[in-house]
């Protein structure tokens, strides 16, 4: 039994596996299938200042080895999250990462101030949602705006601040450096890649939003590359995600430099994916006689 625990920004995780924001809601539906305490942490559904209905349907489409989604940050708003969902989540013996998003810098600051007063363990600032017209990825695609929003939210909270980065940029390492210099404690990546599918019979895009975020196994090699580039560019811990669907994928992303791993689309295919990934990582580490998962973080030997 290998030691799977990791520590990110002073927060202890019993293992490095975290369901990614958006796929897991607030955990209630998955708790019917397995105890949430098995998870290293949970990144909660992106919370905005007020309730959002999101984009019109269809919001999802199958793609080769992956999927597109355009949910558009549907959520009940920060007050509902804090009053109704958070108290329940905080009893689950797992790290709670509150994912937050806003149309403006001020909104993000207000949400962060509210969460700062709660017992949430970490904040994940989403500057990379490709599915909303205002804010979202717009904050995350230039160094200056990424740095600015990070600096403002940094002032609003003492909690460990993770900034979630967009892969839809020229140099994700430059964006990572910008948010690090603005006070981010960690970065998480990659959010989805902007994509599109068209039904050739109707000539209509499958998604009502026309475009959406690509995730799933198809994006995994991009995630590995970007995590590796970012881990080499910054000193703060990197949380990796993007198409992880097995224990071996998670090991690979950690070798590229991730200190923890989020799991998204794989949960749609197999709702038990996070739990299976934890077991598979443990088996692999045991088979290699590696005592702690921490030994493999950034252990890739590049040519």
């Amino acid at each position: 039994m290998a030691d799977l625990s990791v520590n990110i920004c002073g927060v202890d995780f019993k293992n490095p596996i975290i369901p990614a924001s958006g796929v897991f809601g607030y955990g209630r539906e998955y708790e019917e299938l397995f105890p949430l305490s098995k998870l290293g942490g949970i990144a909660t559904k992106g919370t905005t200042i007020t309730r959002r209905n999101g984009n019109p349907s269809p919001r999802i489409a199958e793609t080769p080895s992956g999927m597109l989604n355009s949910v558009g940050l549907q959520n009940p708003g920060i007050d509902y999250f804090i009053e109704t969902e958070l108290p329940n989540l905080l009893t689950k013996d797992t790290v709670i990462i509150a994912n937050i998003a806003g149309s403006t810098v001020e909104e993000c600051v207000t949400i962060a101030e509210k969460i700062d007063k709660t017992d949430v363990h970490m904040i994940e600032l989403n500057i990379s949602c490709p599915n909303v017209k205002q804010g979202g990825a717009a904050f995350g695609t230039s160094c200056a705006s990424a740095e600015n929003i990070t600096a403002e939210v940094r002032k609003a909270t003492e909690k460990p601040l993770i900034v979630k980065l967009s892969p839809n940029v020229t140099s994700i390492a430059d964006i990572a450096k910008a948010v690090e210099s603005a006070g981010a404690d960690s970065v998480s990546l990659i959010n989805t890649l902007l994509g599109m599918r068209i039904d050739i019979n109707t000539q209509r895009p499958i998604l009502k939003n026309n475009v959406g975020g690509l995730s799933g196994s198809a994006v995994f090699p991009i995630a590995v590359r970007m995590v590796w580039q970012v881990a080499n560019a910054v000193k703060i811990p990197v949380i990796g995600m993007g198409g992880v669907s097995s224990g071996k994928d998670a090991i690979e992303l950690m070798m590229a430099g991730a200190s923890a791993v989020q799991v998204g689309a794989a949960i749609f295919t197999d709702p038990f994916a996070p739990v299976k990934i934890i077991d598979e990582m443990n088996e692999w580490l045991d088979s290699k006689n590696i005592k702690s998962v921490r030994e493999i973080i950034g252990s890739v030997k590049p040519w």
Partner: protein, 258 residues
């Protein structure tokens, strides 16, 4: 309302119309809790997203479910290649089903095309108290007529091209019945234009009406918020989710486009 995920044995497979298949699946823990109107979420090898398929039969004694699905794309095509003796990976039973009431004396069930299968467990519940109106593109797409007859329900068959039964849509015999008899409830599943028409007419007549909706789906259990449909909640527009709050909705709550 507990759901589980597992691999279950396909006991029987049959092709019941062009590109339409029926599976009988041995899954006692699912059959035990499944209700009319719920669905199963099926993993198809090689695909990221599961495919939701409505439940067409529940046999709690035998511990089996029946599902009927149409080949719509690559995923359902792959699903149709599974045979008797194969295992099928299901997350089930999911969703909020139909409200059935022993006290109702006369109900109408309406199925359009591949929306017909979820009507069968309702017909089994109501028996001769039900009139089942089903509509299909043409004779080669007609399914489940004998199954409905064996429940004791009265059946009315329509085809768009007149190749079998009444030439026309289900709305015509539906209107004739609601104009001539007292109906306690209407249950419907099928294409959106059909559901919109049925809902409007039922609401006009003040008849309780439940409709089962379809939407492209992610998790299937209410976490990812992908399968949104427009509804009214306390007079405010609310994006409900077909997988958890549905697939069955009170017709009064659904906002139809156009």
């Amino acid at each position: 309302m507990k759901y589980t995920q597992g691999k279950y044995l396909i006991l029987k497979k049959s092709a019941i119309a062009r590109n339409i298949y029926s599976f009988e699946i041995l899954c006692p823990e699912v059959a035990d809790v499944a209700t009319a109107g719920q669905f199963v979420h099926i993993r198809v090898e090689g695909f990221t997203l599961r495919r939701p398929v409505s439940i067409c039969g529940i046999d709690k004694n035998k511990g089996t479910l029946r599902i009927v699905f149409e080949i719509r794309g690559e995923g359902t095509e792959m699903l149709s290649h599974l045979n008797e003796g194969c295992l099928i990976d299901m997350l089930a039973p999911l969703g909020h089903g139909f409200t059935l009431n022993q006290d109702f004396r006369k109900v109408i069930l309406i199925g359009g095309g591949i929306g017909t299968p979820p009507m069968l467990p309702i017909a089994e519940f109501y028996g001769s108290k039900a009139t089942v109106i089903t509509g299909f593109r043409s004779a080669d797409a007609v399914i489940l007529q004998n199954d409905f007859k064996s429940t004791g329900a009265e059946t009315v068959l329509c085809t768009d091209d007149g190749s079998l039964g009444i030439h026309g849509f289900v709305t015509q015999p539906f209107e004739e019945i609601i104009n001539s008899e007292k109906i306690d409830a209407v249950y419907a599943c099928g294409p959106m234009p059909m559901l919109k028409n049925i809902s409007r007419k039922a609401i006009e007549k003040n008849i309780y009406c439940e409709i089962s909706l379809e939407e492209r789906m992610g998790c299937g259990i209410g976490a990812c918020l992908v399968c949104a449909c427009r509804t009214k909640k306390n007079d405010e527009e609310y994006f409900a989710h077909v997988c958890k709050e549905g697939p069955v909705f009170n017709a009064k709550e659904v906002i139809f486009n156009g």
